[in-house]
Amino acid sequence: MQATSEMSEDALQDRQRVLNKLRALMPFFGFIALVVVFSILTGGKIIRFRNLKLMLSQVYVLMIASTGVFMIMTVGGLDFSQGSILGLASIVFCWVSKYNIVLGILAAIVAGAAMGAFNGLFHVRFKIASFIVTICTMYLFRGLCKYVTTNGPVPASLNVLALNQTWFKVLMTAIVLVIGYIVIHFTRVGYDLKAIGAGETAARFSGSRPNLVKFLVFTVSGAITGFASFINVIKVGSITGTAGSMLETQILIALVLGGMPISGGSKARFSNIIIGTLTYSVLEKSLPMIFPVAATQQLVKGIIFLIVVALTIDHEALKVIK
């Protein structure tokens, strides 16, 4: 009798394991399905080289910035100030690039890190929910960005435009992704991030330092977005007050489409960044080809977003749905 019960328990666990693996693969299948469906609907237009190149040109900044937010979301936090950080860091890069481009990149990274640290400080030190802190700083940084550009856009050194090459942007994005992958998978930090996301109190008892890790995660995420601002500027050349506007929502949508659990924890996978940003990019690029009216594109995007999320979300990871 006991043996039968153990067997059925084993069978249940196996079934659960298979289900979990399938669920983890769902965003990937969703991405493939979207590409196939949109390829058919556009008569193969979206998989032409020119369109793929265009699609990729929009994905670099999103993918780089998403790497930082991925870490924040893994610890269970949220960051709505990413667009504003990108805008302000881009301005810093533009200013300093006139003296030296490398110095400009460093300045943008430092500026991004400082803004991220500001978020982290308020979140950790004053125990304010990350989404509330970052909504406040979204306004704060955006306000600075708009104020600085009151009299017109801030131009970068003209030399940066020469860097607007596909190979260069691919290389930069790949470097960020590889470093991110190594940190998440092969260092203690990656383990800590998932442990804190899964259960902060338990993580603290097992030797992690949640407050320090969370502060660092916000700082590093800001630094990564600071670096993304460099890629942003080499594409656009000058920065207005609305630079990076809505980036935070795009990142959120992209990561969720990639299967990122909103509560973070052990089920966050690095592939969420790549699959998510590519899925978002396919949607952004393909919908105008099929539906010429902007409102229809957005309607379809919203419906697809909800369907994908409903199908891929891991309810077991969400003990309380907020």
């Binding site: 269970g76 936090g77 949220l78 308020f122 979140h123 004053f126 125990k127 304010i128 929910a129 990350s130 989404f131 509330i132 802190v133 909504i135 406040c136 700083t137 979204m138 306004y139 704060l140 940084f141 955006r142 306000g143 600075l144 708009k146 104020y147 550009t149 009151t150 902060e200 109190t201 007050g241 809505m246 929502t249 959120l252 949508i253 969720v256 909103i262 509560s263 009216v293 902007a294 409102a295 229809t296 594109q297 957005q298 309607l299 995007k301 919203g302 419906i303 977003f305 909800l306 999320v309 409903a310 979300i313 309810h315 969400l318 309380v320 749905i321 907020k322």
Partner: protein, 321 residues
């Protein structure tokens, strides 16, 4: 004596005193800095009229924010409900405008609440999708308007809500309703209980899903009222795409932060109303000082952060995500 002071410090009168003192302080600062352009009795009335529309939305937001939920589709609801109101006003005048805004707003709340509870997706995620959908639906609604002035309230006969006394009447009814729901019905008690600890609330027998649904409906009902005031003040509404409606979420949210912060004194609705007034005072004070309006967002963020930091801290050692 000490006991009396302690008792007073935790009473709603203390909360109201602090709020009024803050309003007076900001008024005083800007009045001193810009005596001729700021803070006359006429201007104060204008500031109040501006702030009440956001305060109405803030009252609605309170029901879900106090439970730890969020809704990104508020702005999209304001746009859509306003456009439905304008469209119906062409046929039915005031009845069309009022019912269009209120019924459309509430129906969106029912829809949001239903999807949130059935799909079991976090509110922050589900409402991003709904925001995209509602924004696009608003564009279809405005296409039905064949008046030649799509989305505009052209009939001067139905502009009563953009000035006193009817804007005050609408807002006061909304504030009283919100206070009534919070103070005299189970909804307010249960919303607070769920926000404090959802597990415990569930174990106490509270139907958490039901009350979250009700909170969404109430939120969007109040957003419908806000839409009525917003469309009247602006004499129309523009349909938007590309998530631009999100900006409309945050002004009501600021008032809600005041409400949450002063919840402990038992006067959240008063805090929302006075809080929105304080924020309007600050914006107008900056304008009076000839500071470029581009700095408004900075001030918004700074004020919000200060309020939240001073009043909304978690306990040491508590888990805050």
């Amino acid at each position: 004596m000490n006991e009396t002071i302690t008792k007073f410090k935790s009473s709603k009168y203390f909360g109201i005193t602090v709020l009024v003192a803050m309003a007076v302080l900001f008024w005083g600062i800007f009045k001193i800095l810009s005596p001729s352009n700021f803070g006359s009795s006429k201007l104060l009335r204008d500031y109040l009229q501006t702030s009440i529309q956001y305060a109405v939305g803030g009252c609605g937001f309170y029901f879900i924010v106090v439970m730890g939920l969020f809704d990104f589709s508020i702005g999209a609801n304001i746009v859509l409900s306003s456009l439905v109101g304008v469209l119906l006003s062409r046929q039915f005048g005031y009845y069309g405008l009022i019912l269009g805004c209120l019924v459309c707003g509430t129906m969106i709340g029912v829809f949001n609440g239903f999807l949130y509870s059935k799909l079991r997706i976090p509110s922050m995620i589900v409402t991003v999708g709904l925001m995209l959908i509602l924004e696009s639906v608003a564009n279809y609604v405005v296409a039905f308007d064949k008046s030649g002035f799509p989305g505009k309230l052209t009939d001067a006969g139905i502009l009563a809500f953009n000035h006193a006394p009817w804007n005050y009447v609408v807002a006061i009814i909304a504030f009283l309703l919100a206070a009534f729901f919070l103070r005299y019905t189970r909804i307010g008690t249960y919303c607070n209980a769920i926000g404090s600890n959802e597990y415990v609330a569930k174990n106490m027998g509270i139907n958490v899903e039901k009350y979250k649904f009700i909170a969404f409906v109430l939120l969007h009902f109040f957003v419908g009222i806000m839409a009525l005031l917003t469309v009247s003040y602006g004499r129309g509404m523009l349909a938007v795409t590309g998530m631009s409606s999100m900006d409309r979420n945050f002004k009501p949210l600021m008032g809600t932060f005041f409400g949450v912060a002063f919840k402990k004194y038992g006067c959240p609705i008063t805090a929302i109303v006075v809080g929105e007034f304080i924020i309007t005072l600050i914006f107008n004070g900056l304008v009076a000082l000839n500071i470029p309006t581009t700095i408004n967002d900075f001030v918004t963020g700074a004020v919000l952060l200060i309020i939240v930091t001073l009043t909304n801290r978690g306990r040491v050692g508590s888990v805050v995500k």
